[in-house]
Symmetry: C2
């Protein structure tokens, strides 16, 4: 494909995570052959999002305003602050409809190997917010990966020193799963974290 | 994610082939958090390609001109015409540096179930070009899938009636492979198409 604007499009599509040379070509072909309207729509959506989306000054999540709708809502329980890695994790928690407190979105996780330290994920800001006098409990909902656990550990230690109640999402057997097919580590954690009933 | 321009971006990314809700969210997050410049670059590339790229009036491939560089090249052997499904297939053949003729790019394949008939893949135009007096051999290089084979069959029948020499890429054992691991159909074809040497 020697055409410059086609090559430029394939190159640009490769900047998307998980998109290699083959997928990028397939995407470019699809848009140009079957969905030019889609190309225009995506072009405008990218431009608008890149221009309008910024970080909530309170919780750090994506928003188009100074403070996001969640942080502004008078219906939210301001004594609870749930710490998540990304807006997608926040959305997952919201879908459960089991939480009505506020959030702090790290927009990442501690990852020393990638050079991502406490400042990159706004820990200073989190600590300031957690100690604003309103928050009584910080719920750590970072992922249950090595990096997510390390991040939770660092935050927990710092906040406990400040006298705050810090909790972590429970680990356990996923709803609907058969023990036979659940990995040993998960079962072990479910045993340790077992609840009386 | 209640933010309208973020939602619009996720929706627009889902128009890309192979991109579901989760990948689209991940892509949007990546661009907004780590690569805003990439969002602008991709936006412009989409706009430019959608505006500038059209079909070569001779071979139907993507080009920014009336006639593509390949069709215009005086170095090309104009007695050979290779029929491929997509520009990506054309690019794969070009990379072999084993072919110096011209191309006709169907921009698809016959697919009655999807309502894609002879007109959609420009067969009338292909037949006109193949019978322009210059072309002496038409090489069918559609894919070796059910639809690609059916497409090759239809084209071959029509062109043979017009007295043209029609050939098909050889089927056989892939270079570098061990017979033990090659599927039976491929070995059977390689036997039928065996060459003296
Ligand atoms: Zn907020
Ligand atoms: Zn051409």
């Amino acid at each position: 494909m020697a055409e410059p604007s086609l090559q430029a499009l394939v190159e640009a599509l490769r900047r998307l995570p998980g998109v290699g040379a083959k997928s990028a070509s397939r995407m470019a072909f699809h848009l140009l052959q079957h969905d030019r309207e889609g190309a225009h729509v995506l072009s405008r959506a990218l431009e608008q999002a890149a221009r309008n989306v910024r970080h909530c000054s309170e919780c750090h999540t994506f928003t188009e305003d100074e403070v996001c709708t969640t942080c502004r809502s008078p219906q939210r329980d301001r004594t609870k602050l749930c710490v998540v890695e990304t807006p997608a994790d926040q959305a997952a928690l919201e879908r459960t409809q089991a939480y009505n407190g506020l959030y702090f979105v790290l927009m990442g996780k501690l990852s020393p190997l990638d050079g991502i330290g406490p400042r990159d994920i706004g820990l200073g800001k989190l600590f300031a917010r957690a100690t604003n006098g309103e928050v009584q409990e910080v719920i750590l909902a970072t992922n249950f990966t090595a990096e997510g656990e390390a991040t939770a550990h660092v935050i927990a230690e710092a906040l406990k020193q400040k006298g705050l109640k810090v909790t972590r999402l429970a680990r356990g057997v996923p709803a609907g799963s058969e023990l036979e097919y659940v990995d040993l580590g998960t079962i072990a954690h479910a045993l340790v974290d077992r609840r009386s009933r």
